[in-house]
């Protein structure tokens, strides 16, 4: 959890993004196929993340992160258009994730 919401140390954030990018491109198997099509599924995923060990790879796996946009039912679900994405901080503010992200990434708790 970022202890100072709104205050992001950009160098370390970028290092974390690089790390996530390496993990994703390195073949981390995530549950990206299970898109949160309805609120119940969304809540189930969020609940699973909340109950997890909170490790970075666990979050990425449970949230179904990919390093590219996923198009689902004609909707391009990229971080860039997600309601939890902060454009200028490059941050996902969903409290259960609270991660530095890149606009072209995607996950299955995307919402607009």
């Amino acid at each position: 959890m970022n202890p100072h919401p709104g205050v992001h140390r950009q160098d370390s954030d970028e290092a974390t993004r690089d790390n996530i990018a390496r993990i994703l491109s390195g073949g981390l198997e995530t549950e990206w196929q299970t898109r949160a099509d309805d609120s119940e599924r969304f809540q189930a995923i969020v609940k699973a993340i909340r109950a997890s060990d909170g490790e970075l790879t666990t979050k990425l796996r449970l949230a179904g992160f990919t390093d590219h946009p996923i198009t689902h039912f004609d909707l391009e679900q990229s971080c860039e258009t997600c309601m939890y994405f902060q454009l200028h901080h490059g941050w996902c503010v969903l409290p259960e994730l609270d991660l530095p992200v890149r606009p072209e990434w995607s996950c299955n708790v995307w919402r607009i």
Binding site: G6, R35, A36, D37, D38, S39, E40, F42, Q43, H72, F73, L75, Q77, E80, T81, M83, Y84, F85, Q86, L87, H88, H89, V93, L94, P95, W110, R111, I112
Partner: protein, 304 residues
């Protein structure tokens, strides 16, 4: 109780400045027991003129239509209301219970409750769809849980000063002066709504409460951000999502387990969009606005 908190005008102003004689009120009324029954009978029979009947609370019909589960002053409350409404110049329903039936009328409605002239969105209620008070007006509905006290006193002043003909009502018989705009109108988070910056926790000062926390401000007709509560604030200003309590569907919106104060989505798109906005338009607007959002929109800009 909400009524006693009125400020513009106050409950005292009604008496001292506008000459309203408050015959009886649960907290202010002087009559008790037989004296109260006598007063109510005098009003119902016309021996004592009753210009305005203001009623708060649901109409309980159970069991079997008798209303015996809610007795008041020696008989079912619903019987008093029917008799008094027939004698009154104007009838004003205060709060969700009196207007639409409220929480007691929520399915399965075990008390067989309804409002004065509506059951939720269906016209009818205790007094029936054709009811008109002696003034010719139907029941004036001032919903809310609670109704804002100033909505109540301002309508009472309009009636008491002979301007009831100027009270335009919407299709749910709510005064248009209060219920044409939305809760969102005047919300301090409108810039965050515009730039699609979401709040994710209660009390968070940055971000709009619509996108994640289930705020119904863009779909709810009320002046909560124009006529502030306690003249100070509102739910949304304080970081609490609007719960849509001035609409007949309240509290039915989001009562599934785990869904309260959580925006319900279908394929990632809010199930209930701002009034009048279509899904495609919403998505285009969101993408464009988000990409254009300024850096300050992501910060807590309120310094006190």
């Amino acid at each position: 109780m909400s009524f006693l908190n009125a400020e513009e005008p106050s409950a005292c102003d009604l008496v001292t400045d506008f000459g309203i004689d408050i015959l009886w009120h649960p907290s202010l009324g002087m009559e008790l027991g037989d004296n109260l029954i006598q007063l109510l009978e005098d009003c119902a029979t016309g021996r004592k003129p009753l210009d305005i009947l203001v009623f708060e609370g649901t109409i309980v019909n159970a069991p079997n239509g008798t209303g015996e589960w809610n007795r008041f002053a020696g008989r079912p409350m619903k019987d008093w209301v029917k008799d008094l409404a027939a004698a009154a110049g104007h009838v004003v329903a205060i709060g969700d219970c009196a207007t639409w039936g409220g929480i007691p009328a929520t399915a399965p409605n075990p008390t067989d409750s309804e409002g004065l002239q509506y059951l939720k969105r269906r016209r009818g209620g205790l007094l029936g769809p054709a009811f008109q008070a002696k003034s010719g007006l139907p029941v004036i509905n001032i919903p809310g849980c609670p109704a804002h006290p100033d909505w109540v006193t301002q309508i009472l002043v309009a009636v008491a000063t002979g301007r009831s003909g100027e009270i335009a009502l919407d299709d749910l018989q709510r005064p248009k002066t209060f219920f044409t705009t939305y809760t969102q109108t005047g919300c301090t988070r409108n810039m965050h709504f515009a730039y699609k910056v979401s709040a994710t926790e209660f009390g968070q000062r940055r971000g709009c409460l619509f996108y994640d926390l289930g705020c119904r401000g863009p779909m709810t007709h009320s002046p909560c951000n124009r006529i502030l509560w306690n003249r100070q604030s509102s739910k949304t200003r304080a970081g609490m999502p609007c719960i849509g309590c001035t609409e007949p569907e309240f509290p039915f919106f989001d009562l599934a387990p785990g869904s309260v104060f959580k925006t319900q989505t279908v394929m990632g798109v809010p199930r209930d969009l701002p009034d009048g906005v279509e899904k495609n338009g919403y998505m285009k607007m969101t993408v464009a606005a988000k990409s254009a959002s300024p850096a300050w929109a992501e910060e807590d800009i309120f310094v006190i």
